[in-house]
Subunit: 326 residues, 4 copies
């Protein structure tokens, strides 16, 4: 498709699964570092589904101008049922053959990784970047979007606390992270929550109620409990607390607000680093790799290996809440 | 209580009903303008209930330092069942007699006004300030907190739209305003909603679905519908839209986040003006008045008269959505 | 140029002079309301210079998607020396003739208005919208961008006050408004400044120093003085205050940050209203008009008349600072 | 001073040097974890000067309520000339003896560390926490306040870019970090700067001008250069760029805004962790230690050793700008 005989190859980029702030910064980095290093770059819209449907366009440096500060993904994202079939994967591979895509950079979560592994088997060299606000990918300390999502949460909870304080209430705040309490535990520590409820640690609602009553007796007038999505219904928890403590309690589900917004500095910088690192791996002709943060350094793993890892949980921070919420 | 023979009298301040950003700016203005004009000022905690329970303290200029930028109310707020009885009102009056409160500045909504009228009858001179995010007080064009709440809403919706756009979804966003669509209609116009559902105007969900389908056919990829709290269940509306348009639709209830946060410039300034105006009225020995904004000017009405007025609705702006959301 | 025989005419839109948040919301409203009402709409880039150089494109409803929340202007802006000559104006008129522009909507300040008047004389029907953060246009109570700029200022000053308070300093904050103190006086009232220095009111730096010393003696530990750009050098004022009060004083010039950012709800809504109103005026075949806000209502004036008006200043608010900063 | 015979000892807390967002979260953590672990806690106002002047008070858990989200330091900060003398240090020690302070937690930068070492020699057991927005402390990967300051910078630069883009200008943005380019290099990468000027790396203004011209020729319309405070005058740099590229260039000094504001989630959490860790060290009867982040883990060093370390610089990120700004 390209008439330039001097290009080293063609990199396709796609985002898949839930969007996360910083994905645009990653797209920009892959695009510019790719072109800078001598590759042609194609943007694929709507993830693997767009690859199947040949919904793509060549990207120059100007196509990624002024997106570094935008939430969401300029390449859109979608879940593709068709791509879960071998038939769909072959169609995606056919697009790669047709438009000359040699390498694929796939930004997303575990599901995205599995998709990359599938098309890798058909002969497209894939590099994956971790992009999800939940930070629930086992192989990496950090996923693009996590920092922004937490900052959005605390900004919203700071506001909720203004009214909580004025009315001497208890707020039950439900944050995202269906399978993971990473957002919840950090946000709880950052906003002065009396306790946090996550899937990783057992909890006893009656102990939380007792703690609230004990602290009320020492002069604390307002309370906050953070709940990770999926552990329990925040409305029910608020009702239970109100009934068992006598303190007016209200639930707020922060919802989709957490997924958008201008990315934080950290998310933009880590996305830029990862995007450049992906182009480096491509330069070394690597394939089937995921990029990860390990002890502040960028490293890469085989996708299969990455998917078999088990995610830790910061139980130390969780336990610090006992003293912090005194 | 005061040994200063030169003071003109004592002003008590309280906030009552739901808190609103800017209440602190109003408290500060009444306190400082009051002291500046020769009054002693008492802060009453937890609204009328605090007056009954004598939960109050003298305030100097430094007691209201560094609160102009804080959401909520430093005097706390509460709903008082006891104050709804004549017995309770007499106890509140007894507190005023005991600590020497001659004037009462009451910041809140309609319920606060009714309470002020009651205690006025017992001989305490009351001036009311409109403080509620809903802008649902009939006599005034504006209530303290409304501007901040709308800015909070659009900031959150801007974020929701990042993910809405990335996934080509329809967002159904529920905003506060149980009896009033003022937040909803402005926020809808400000964020590019395809339509708004408020209690003041009839709506037809099937027409909204048709509009979404028509616009999808002209290339629009993502959609937003704003719903005022209490008109319908946002979850049900999202489900209906999804079923009837085929577009993935998600509901978000913005919730208590809308009530807190640092007040906007407008809210701080209007609160300051109103607080100073209240002290002016007190200087003229006025009583039983509510302060209101009428055509950008501050005016005041008899409380009874104010409560009998009927609130308008900006149907013109509502109707502009038809062209704005093209 | 258009093959549609049923269009009522063609509206060109341009932004000129300094950009202001909300200009995009106005462009969107003119575009969509224009198309909705049966007009063809052309976007002209870089103000009058772009008109001279025929730098324009037809805009459909989708061309203004997702801009309502963006600061700046998607049509760019520039100052055109060429347009100040009759020669340049004739070239601009020639473009209008060539591409069929019947009406021109010009968004900007006084300079923009004068340009519109010039090209009006050559036969293009112009409607002007007030867009400048300074609120320094005589005929209107409000200019698009003013509210956002003030909110940006107070957000930044709230941050400055954190460090001012921690160090017991005096902050001298310089805000925009070369010819006008509207931003300064509101921002001063909203952030608890001890005083404000604007071009509209005389000031005595020694009196300000005395006030600072007096208040320090009553326990105030940190201070803020707001200065409108162009009245004095904030660095010099800070130095003078430090020398004459002994309080560590620091100047901050807020600068271009004040001109950008997502527009506030008010700016988006007023821009939408004004854009729709412009299309209404065009429908009535009006020309040479400027749209203005008068007592919360939209009105329109002859450009010449508008330019001859004299802007007021809120000296009442200025004077309230004496008690507010107690 | 305390009548409780069961307390393990008394911890004094002070903040010294420039304030940084997150200091309050650290104060809160030390206070609550201290009390939780059986210590009495005293807050010392205005750093070492307050210790000399016995400006302190006992803190209970409620004294640190609702400060986790506030910028600045509730204990105030100051530079103390007196404390730089042995005489002053002895007076500070005398205060510790008088009120029974056994341990001192000192939050600040290098200067704060040197002060702690001095008083340590006189027999007060000191633990230091790194608190400065500049991240310029050699022994630690991270200092409290750095993340918030960078987020504040990018938020402001995003706004500046709206007007930069609208006018096709070059912005020269000066950020804090007198001795260190850590803020500058991250912020440059995060906001799409064409280049960054820091003290750690040589730069050639003519090469920057050439890059701007080259990129203008490929269609880039607006440009940003980030300058670390103290490397060069941003005004001069802007003037030079304008003269040598022909592109309208404007300087903005972000100033003290960078030092304040609600701390980010990361800053609140790391401050909480460090505060709890300080209490752990006290429990182990450690003295003369500084707490540091090394590869995401908390560690501690001897103060002398920490002060002798040499800070690295992220030249890798600096060099990535060449491709990122394509």
């Amino acid at each position: 498709m390209s008439d330039r005989t001097d290009i080293k190859g063609t990199i396709g980029i796609l985002t898949s699964g839930g969007d996360a702030p910083g994905m645009n910064a990653a797209i920009r980095a892959v695009t510019r570092a790719g072109i800078f290093s001598g590759y042609r770059v194609m943007g694929i819209r709507r993830g693997y589904q767009g690859l199947i449907e040949e919904d793509l366009f060549e990207m120059g440096p100007r196509d990624v101008s002024d997106i570094v500060q935008r939430g969401g993904t300029m390449l859109f994202t979608a879940r593709s049922k068709e791509f879960m079939t071998l038939e769909g994967q072959k169609r995606a591979k056919a697009t790669c053959d047709k438009v000359g895509i040699d390498y694929l950079v796939c930004i997303g979560g575990d599901g995205t990784y599995r998709g990359a592994m599938d098309i890798c088997k058909l002969g497209v060299k894939c590099i994956c970047l971790p992009g999800t606000i939940d930070n629930d990918i086992a192989c990496t300390d950090y996923t693009i979007g996590f920092d922004t999502a937490m900052n959005t949460c605390i900004e919203m909870i700071d506001r909720i606390k203004d009214t909580e304080m004025s009315h001497s209430r208890c707020s039950v705040v439900e944050v995202m992270g269906r399978r993971a309490g990473h957002i919840a535990v950090n946000v709880a520590a950052a906003t002065g929550a009396i306790d946090v409820i996550t899937v990783e640690m057992p909890y006893d609602i009656d102990k939380i109620c007792k703690k609230i009553i004990d602290q009320k007796n020492t002069g604390k007038t307002h309370f906050e409990v953070v709940v990770a999505e999926g552990v329990g219904h925040s409305e029910d928890i608020a009702k239970y607390i109100q009934e068992h403590t006598g303190i007016d309690s209200r639930a707020t589900i922060l919802g989709y607000v957490q997924r958008g917004g201008a990315p934080s500095c950290y998310d933009r910088v880590i996305a830029a680093r990862m995007g450049c690192y992906a182009v480096e791996l491509i330069g070394q002709n690597e394939a089937n790799r995921v990029i990860a943060v390990k002890n502040t350094k960028l490293v890469d793993y085989d996708i299969q290996e990455a998917l078999s890892m088990k995610k830790g949980y910061d139980s130390h921070l969780h336990n610090l809440l006992a003293s912090l919420s005194l």
